[in-house]
Symmetry: C2
Subunit: 235 residues, 2 copies
């Protein structure tokens, strides 16, 4: 099923999304209070296949996105190609905010994705007239900022174990049991997110398994055996 989507995407043209239709879907219940319903009446539903570009660095920032399903990563690069993943975005998350008129980060589909694309000028116009929406956009941008700041602390001052433990905690569900859904991202993605190498990520996960903190059922399916001890590691 997801495969047919991939093919559909690749047929259309290299890595171009398939526009499925004008969005008429309402926000899902859990976001009902969070997003002005007027946003639910605008926007286009798009599909992106795994690893395809949603937008590139330097592209015109005329669109905002909200994820319906799938995972998205935003990346930046140094001149010699070193990559850094700024953030992963999950179902319900909004991304694509920019100060100026171009994207400073690129965005890519980690898994097959369905997103709703809103025209930036439309959103800005609506926000100018509607205070509730304006505040929602503002606090959404602020949450992105808060995340970036937290992540700076991690990158600057945490050890490899602390980084990996933090990552696992971020992606486990928030309940005390910390059940984990299957990871969408590769070891390379995790490494580029945490400022490590794949080898170090892999070694650290193995170490955590040996210490009975986690269980590596498969590479992408991790179970947290000792949530308390894991949380104690994040510093």
């Amino acid at each position: 099923m997801s495969r047919s989507l991939v093919l559909a995407c690749n047929c259309a043209s290299e890595n171009e999304p398939v526009v499925v239709g004008h969005a008429v879907i309402r926000p899902k219940p859990e976001y009902h209070g969070n997003w002005e319903s007027l946003l639910a009446t605008t926007g286009s539903v798009l599909h992106f296949s795994q690893d395809s570009d949603i937008y590139g660095e330097g592209a015109e920032a005329d669109t905002l996105y909200r994820i319906v399903s799938g995972i998205v990563r935003t990346c930046s690069f140094l001149s010699d190609g070193r990559r850094h993943i700024d953030s992963f975005y999950d179902e319900g998350d909004m991304f694509g905010f920019e100060v100026g008129h171009v994207h400073r980060l690129s965005a890519e589909a980690v898994s097959d994705c369905t997103v709703i694309a809103y025209r930036r000028c439309t959103v800005e116009r609506l926000a100018a007239e509607n205070n509730v929406l304006a505040r929602q956009m503002f606090s959404c941008a602020m949450r992105n900022m808060a995340h970036a700041q937290n992540h700076c602390l991690l990158l600057a001052r945490k050890s490899a174990v602390e980084k990996v433990a933090t990552f696992l905690t971020e992606w486990a569900d928030p309940s005390p049991r910390m059940e984990m859904k299957a990871l969408a991202m590769t070891r390379q993605d995790i490494a580029d997110y945490l400022g490590l190498t794949i080898e170090t990520v892999s070694r650290t996960l193995s170490q955590l398994e040996r210490d009975a903190m986690i269980e590596l059922h498969t590479a992408r399916h991790i179970r947290i055996r000792n949530p308390v001890a894991l949380r104690a590691l994040i510093a």
Copy 2:
């Protein structure tokens, strides 16, 4: 002169700012176009002496600040005391934005500072009525976000030399000659900002001097001798 201010501050009470008066000053010419003049008619002028707290982590986020003079740092800490400096703010910069109702970072005066404090609720009320101001606040928050994202890339993927070169470039004036005003921050501040140790910062600066990139006139007064080569280092 600044010394009398320090004393004044310490007299008032431990590290408490001195309220000099209700702000009636207009924004300086260079910010005239950037900040709605209605903000110029509100806010209180405060002084903070070097190394005093402006607000602490967890404090109620009911105030926004704009710097009139001096340098401010925002910090976060790990449980064992490891410090990270999220950002330095210079004359004209605005800081204190938060998603929720508490400050997630603490703010401290790097040098003796004069700031204008705006009540958050006042600014929010004004922004709700005035679209220009609302957009200015939004883009200010977005610039903070962009800075944090840039900084993540630096922390995650740059070497010590690249980090220091980036820092110097950030703080040199933007003209090609890259004249540097005296640094307000200590080596410890620089280290905590770049995710390094003081020793590494010091060694790297010495190395850059040996390579004729910079001149360490005194520890706090650095002259950039070869702006082109220095820029080439930032990756």
